[in-house]
Structure formats: structure tokens, C-alpha cells
């Protein structure tokens, strides 16, 4: 490769990148706004849930349970009656989000057999909300049971029109920020790496400058290198910025080595840039490049375990997720930042990323040379 020409091209690329003030501003703002929105506004945390109380026991123990739920600040008793039918109606009308059913004999059973039954019914239209509310209620009930030295067992629900789905949240304290921020940083790198790369190369096609460059002594390898290196560095700068925001604005813990984070990012970016380059070879306009990039990125993100854990996906989807570079990088980021994982712990996903990077980049460069020959 001709290093002099690469240098000449790099100068031009940086000149163009830094001239586009609009894009620079957006790139600086993006990590802030995304982190702000996704980690504070788009939280799963449920402030207060409206509770319909069906207390058929009216005992000290039943009142104690209701008091503790209320005292947590997370539950408000919206209405109460001894009728399960009325409670169901309230759930349907959405004036209550959950029903707490305390059967007659609750206190007696608790005292005599150290075990009593309770019923929790949720409106699971919003599965995530119901799951979170359930997990709050379970915590409080469990604490109350320990206090009384008894066990509460769930009562089997017989109304068929309400379905309760149970979800496994691996963050019981709902520290949503800590969990989301590493994922959002990955998404940021993917956007810069794939979308900007594809658009940047296609823009030269659109402008006709690629035709002009192809009639000069610029080897394709130099052209590709000069296109990828600036975006690679910009993506790493974005990551640094994002990590600073995460650390100092959102107080996300960084237990592992930042060197390892950047090392993984460097490898991951090869994959992201390679996909961007590949997209640029298949399309003719920036609009098409944008659409294909979004299409791929959205699928990658949805299948990555960023929003829903991959373990709860069907088996075929889990297999697909194994091929998803976003998933592996999110896994590495979470493991290193939140759990303080070391190189040995993340060696497997890192190796997968390195292998995908080599494959994707090779294929993309081949495709590029073929289509522009």
C-alpha cells in the first residue's frame, strides 16, 4: 500500500469530517442525549401501582401486609371491596393495575401452620410493567413473611382472561442505568461505524468523485484504508466521550479495565466498519445506504440482548444471536464495566468478534474491488 497516498487521502477525509459542523455537533450531542433519554426517561422503574384490595380476612396480619405495601411508596390502594368480581372489573377498566387477594383465614393459617395463601393478580397488557410490579410486591411480601416467621404461598388463579407472565430480571434492584448504558454505547459505536461508513463512501459515488478518483493512481486499498481509519478513530472518540458521560453524569460503575474496553472496541469496530463498507458496495445512493444500515442495525440491536435477554428467545434466535457481533460486544461491555471481568473472562466473545471482523472485512473489500473494477 502506498503510504504517501493514504496520508494524502486521510488529510482530505479529516478536512471534510471536521468541516461538517452540523455532523460534528450531532456526534458530540448523540451520546449525551441517547444516554439521557434511554437511561432516565425510558426506565422500567415503576413509581406507584394502583392496587385493588380484596381483604376477606380483616385481621391484624392482613392489615399489616397492606400497610407495608403502602408504606413502600410503590403501591396505592385505589379501591377495596370483598368482591373478586368488582376487583376484576377495576382491572379491566384499568382503574387498578393489580389485585391483592387475602383469603379469609389468612391470619389463622399464618399463626397455626406458619403458612398462608395470598393472591396477586396483574394486568399483564404491559408485560414489563406487570413484571416489575410483581417483583416489588414479592419483595415486600417476602420481607413481611420473614418478619412474621411464616411462609406465604401463591394461590392458583382461576379467572382465565388474565394471563400472568413471569419474567426473570437479573437486576433485582432495577439498576436500569448501569444495565443499559454499556449497551447504548455499543449502539452508538455501531451507528458511527456502520451507518457513517456506508454513507461516507456512497457519497463519493453520488457526487461522481469516485469516478474521478478511479482515474488517478490511487489504489483501492489506499482508498478503503483512508475511508475506514477516520471513522474508526471517530468511533473510538465517541466511546471515550460516552464513557465519560456514563461515569461522571450517570455514575455508572466501571469495575473492569478501560484498556480492555477499548481493546474490544477496536476489534468490534472492524466488524462494524466492514459491514458499512459492504453496504456501500451494494447501493448507489446515500438514501439506500441509510435504509439498509438502519435495517441491519435495528435487527442487530433487537436480537442483541440489549432490551430483552437473548436467553429468553427461541432457540433459532439464540443461534442467530451467536452470529450477532452487537450481542458479543454488549456482553463484553457489561461484563467488563459492571462485573470487572478480565481478558480471560471475555476471551471467547472477543475471539468471535476478531474472527467476524476478519471475515466481514475480507468479504467487503473483495466485494468493493469487484464492483468498482
Amino acid at each position: 500500500m502506498n503510504l504517501r497516498i493514504v496520508r494524502v487521502l486521510l488529510r482530505k477525509e479529516y478536512l471534510q469530517l471536521f468541516r461538517d459542523k452540523m455532523m460534528l455537533r450531532q456526534m458530540l450531542m448523540l451520546p449525551f442525549i441517547q444516554l439521557l433519554l434511554l437511561s432516565t426517561a425510558a426506565t422500567f422503574e415503576v413509581k406507584t401501582a394502583n392496587l385493588y384490595l380484596v381483604d376477606r380476612d380483616h385481621s391484624v396480619a392482613s392489615r399489616g401486609l397492606v400497610d407495608r405495601l403502602r408504606a413502600s411508596g410503590r403501591f396505592r390502594v385505589a379501591d377495596a371491596s370483598p368482591s373478586m368480581k368488582l376487583a376484576d372489573d377495576a382491572l379491566l377498566r384499568r382503574s387498578a393495575g393489580m389485585i391483592l387477594g387475602i383469603p379469609a383465614g389468612f391470619e389463622r393459617d399464618a399463626v397455626r401452620t406458619r403458612s398462608a395463601s395470598l393472591q396477586l393478580v396483574f394486568n399483564a397488557e404491559d408485560g414489563a410493567l406487570a413484571g416489575v410490579t410483581n417483583s416489588y410486591a414479592q419483595q415486600i411480601i417476602a420481607a413481611y413473611a420473614r418478619e412474621l416467621g411464616v411462609t406465604f404461598k401463591p394461590m392458583v388463579m382461576e379467572t382465565p382472561h388474565i394471563e400472568i407472565r413471569t419474567r426473570g430480571w437479573y437486576n433485582q434492584e432495577l439498576d436500569y442505568k448501569d444495565y443499559m448504558v454499556p449497551g447504548i454505547l455499543v449502539q452508538l459505536l455501531t451507528l458511527v461505524g456502520t451507518l457513517l461508513t456506508a454513507m461516507n463512501i456512497v457519497r463519493e459515488k453520488e457526487l461522481g468523485t469516485l469516478e474521478q478518483l478511479n482515474v488517478t493512481p490511487i489504489p483501492r486499498s489506499a482508498f478503503i484504508a483512508a475511508k475506514l481509519i477516520p471513522l474508526w478513530t471517530i468511533a473510538l472518540a465517541e466511546l471515550s466521550l460516552g464513557l465519560m458521560v456514563a461515569r461522571w453524569v450517570f455514575g455508572v460503575p466501571m469495575r473492569g479495565s478501560l484498556v480492555l474496553v477499548f481493546f474490544a472496541a477496536c476489534i468490534y469496530l472492524v466488524v462494524a466498519l466492514g459491514i458499512g463498507l459492504w453496504i456501500s458496495t451494494t447501493v448507489d445512493t446515500q438514501q439506500q445506504a441509510m435504509f439498509i444500515s438502519f435495517f441491519l442495525i435495528l435487527i442487530y440491536l433487537l436480537m442483541s440482548g440489549l432490551f430483552t435477554p437473548t436467553r429468553s428467545m427461541p432457540e433459532w434466535a439464540q443461534w442467530m444471536a451467536e452470529l450477532n457481533p452487537v450481542k458479543h460486544f454488549i456482553w463484553i461491555m457489561r461484563a467488563v464495566l459492571l462485573k470487572g471481568a478480565g481478558l480471560a473472562d471475555v476471551a471467547r466473545p472477543l475471539a468471535i468478534l476478531a474472527a467476524s471482523g476478519a471475515v466481514v472485512l475480507t468479504l467487503a473489500v473483495r466485494q468493493y474491488v469487484k464492483t468498482s473494477a
Binding site: R4, I5, V8, L9, R11, K12, L15, Q16, R19, D20, L207, G208, T209, E211, Q212, L213, N214, V215, T216, P217, I218, A373
Partner: protein, 314 residues
């Protein structure tokens, strides 16, 4: 190997169903200003792309400066200056940045190529800090030509360089091409305009991916196969329609204020055609027509060579 600056032998290129070039052959000499003339879609741009090593020909072979366009493409790229039909410089870079970028790509500097580009570049030098996309059409064209010249190429390919440029700039541009040619540079230029074709040393008429005729522009008409007369008279449009119905009419086209009438009897004396046609016109009620025998020009030839009538600005 040929001594010609450009030698094309039987080049063909197709895109799917479309045959963009069919058996194209021609030679351009060193130091020649060679024109490719033809309407849009004639294959001029495709031919340029083959010659500048951007496209591979499907058939035939071509050499530029004695170098094969397929085998020696890197050697060609270092010595060729190319100005594509569409403005294709970086709009977000300034005039000076564009120029210095293209100079450095070829491993040279603006200073080293300055004397060659000076006559052109000096006219836009005062805007050197302006972004290229903020330039007028004529200035963009001057910048593009400067960028194509800054590395001192041995041959210049210009694909419809004056499209979208005003008449004054067009004429200036051709003056500059003549200056460049005098410095010994070979120039191959394509144009859809007949007046520009007249300023080339030799032109090749192109149509539908084929070369129809190659001659100096002044001689293109000498091979006109049929007798030709110019007709002037009142009520030009009715006269045109009427002449087209004349018994031996081959083609009648409006040319400026005249009508050019081509007779379909080859070898007949044009004077005879003129007097015959005068009688015909009188018989049709056009008493005041003036008819003179003329020699065919490049436009007549072009009309004749083209299979289908084309729109022309007159």
C-alpha cells in the same frame, strides 16, 4: 504498437441489453484536438470511461499513449487528465484544497504545475478560499480543468466539458483548449454542440454507439452523398411542409433562416435541382423563393448520418 496518442480498435461494450459501444475504431494523433460529436446516448461517455480505464471493454482493444487500457491501467492513470461530464470535485472543500488534493494524489504540488494551469486557474484564484459548491458553473468548470491539468498529464480527456456553462464561458473555454493544444498536449473532447465540433482538428461523428465518420470538421460535408440546396422564402413553415412533399425530396430541415433541401438523386447537379425545385415551388404557390446550390456542412452530414431525426436548436 501504434504511434497514435489514442488508438481504438473494434471496441464494444454492452450493459445488459443495451449496446453502448459497437465496433468503435479510431486514432487520435499526438498533439491533436480530437472531438467526439454526437447526441446524448451516442456512447461518448462510455468510450471515455473505457479510455480512462474506468470500464473494461467487452470486445476489441484500445491504447492510450501506447499503453493498453486493460493491461497498463496504472501507467495510464498516472499520465492522464480526466474531466468527467458531471462536476465531480469536493463541494465541501475550497478551491485551493481541491486543487492541492488532486496535485498531491499525483505526487506533485500546485506550484509545480502552476505554469500549465495558470491561464485558467488565475481567473478563479481570487476565490481560492471559497467552497467549490459555491462557485458558478463557469468557475466550477475552470476549477475542474485545473484539477485535471495540475499533474501535467500527457493527454487530456474532457467529457462534455461545457455542458451547463454559459455561451461566453464556453467560447473562452475553447480558446483555452487551443492554447493547451499549442503547448503540445493531446486533447480528446466530446460535445453535443456543432459549433464546438468546428473548433476541433478532427471530429468523429457518433450515434447509437457507433462512429459514423471521422474527418476534419471542415471536410465532413465533402462526403455528403446527395445534392443539396438552400431555400429561403416567406412563410417558412408552409414552405417546409410543401418541400417535403416534392417528388424527389430526401430530407428538408430548417437551418437558421434557411431551409436545406436534399434531393434523393445522387450525382445530379445541384444547379439542376435548384431550378427544378424553383418550378415546383412556384407551382405550389410560393412565388418569391430563392434557391441556391450549396456545399454540405457538418450539420447536414450529421442529419444525414443519423437514422432518426433529432431535435436541434436553431
Amino acid at each position: 504498437m501504434s504511434n497514435a496518442a489514442v488508438a481504438v480498435r473494434g471496441v464494444g461494450k454492452r450493459f445488459g441489453e443495451t449496446e453502448a459501444l459497437t465496433d468503435v475504431s479510431f486514432e487520435a494523433r499526438h498533439g491533436e484536438l480530437f472531438g467526439l460529436v454526437g447526441p446524448d446516448g451516442a456512447g461518448k461517455t462510455t468510450l471515455f470511461r473505457v479510455l480512462t480505464t474506468f470500464l473494461l471493454p467487452d470486445a476489441g482493444s484500445a491504447t492510450v499513449l501506447g499503453l493498453d487500457v486493460v493491461r497498463d491501467l496504472w501507467a495510464i492513470r498516472a499520465r492522464v487528465g480526466y474531466m468527467p461530464g458531471r462536476f465531480s470535485l469536493y463541494g465541501d472543500l475550497t478551491v485551493a484544497e481541491n486543487l492541492s488534493f488532486f496535485a498531491s494524489v499525483f505526487g506533485t504540488t500546485i506550484e509545480e504545475g502552476y505554469d500549465l494551469i495558470a491561464p485558467i486557474y488565475r481567473q478563479i484564484e481570487s476565490f481560492s478560499g471559497r467552497r467549490a459548491d459555491a462557485l458558478s458553473g463557469g468557475m466550477k468548470q475552470k476549477l475542474a480543468l485545473s484539477c485535471a491539468l495540475v499533474h501535467r498529464p500527457d493527454i487530456l480527456f474532457l467529457d462534455e466539458p461545457t455542458t451547463g456553462v454559459d455561451a461566453v464561458s464556453r467560447s473562452e473555454f475553447w480558446d483555452q483548449l487551443h492554447t493547451l493544444r499549442e503547448s503540445g498536449l493531446t486533447i480528446v473532447v466530446s460535445t453535443p454542440y456543432m459549433d464546438e465540433a468546428m473548433r476541433c482538428d478532427r471530429v468523429a461523428l457518433m450515434q447509437g454507439g457507433r462512429i459514423l465518420e471521422i474527418d476534419p470538421p471542415g471536410e465532413i460535408g465533402s462526403r455528403y452523398p446527395l445534392p443539396l440546396v438552400a431555400v429561403t422564402g416567406a412563410d417558412r413553415y408552409r414552405l417546409l411542409l410543401s418541400l417535403r412533399k416534392a417528388p424527389h425530396a430526401h430530407a428538408v430541415y430548417p437551418f437558421g433562416s434557411e431551409l436545406h433541401y436534399t434531393d434523393n438523386r445522387a450525382g445530379l447537379d445541384p444547379g439542376e435541382v435548384a431550378s427544378e425545385l424553383r418550378d415546383y415551388a412556384r407551382g405550389q404557390g410560393f412565388g418569391d423563393v430563392e434557391i441556391t446550390a450549396i456545399a454540405a456542412g457538418i450539420e447536414d452530414s450529421f442529419m444525414e448520418l443519423m437514422p432518426a431525426p433529432v431535435q436541434r436548436a436553431s
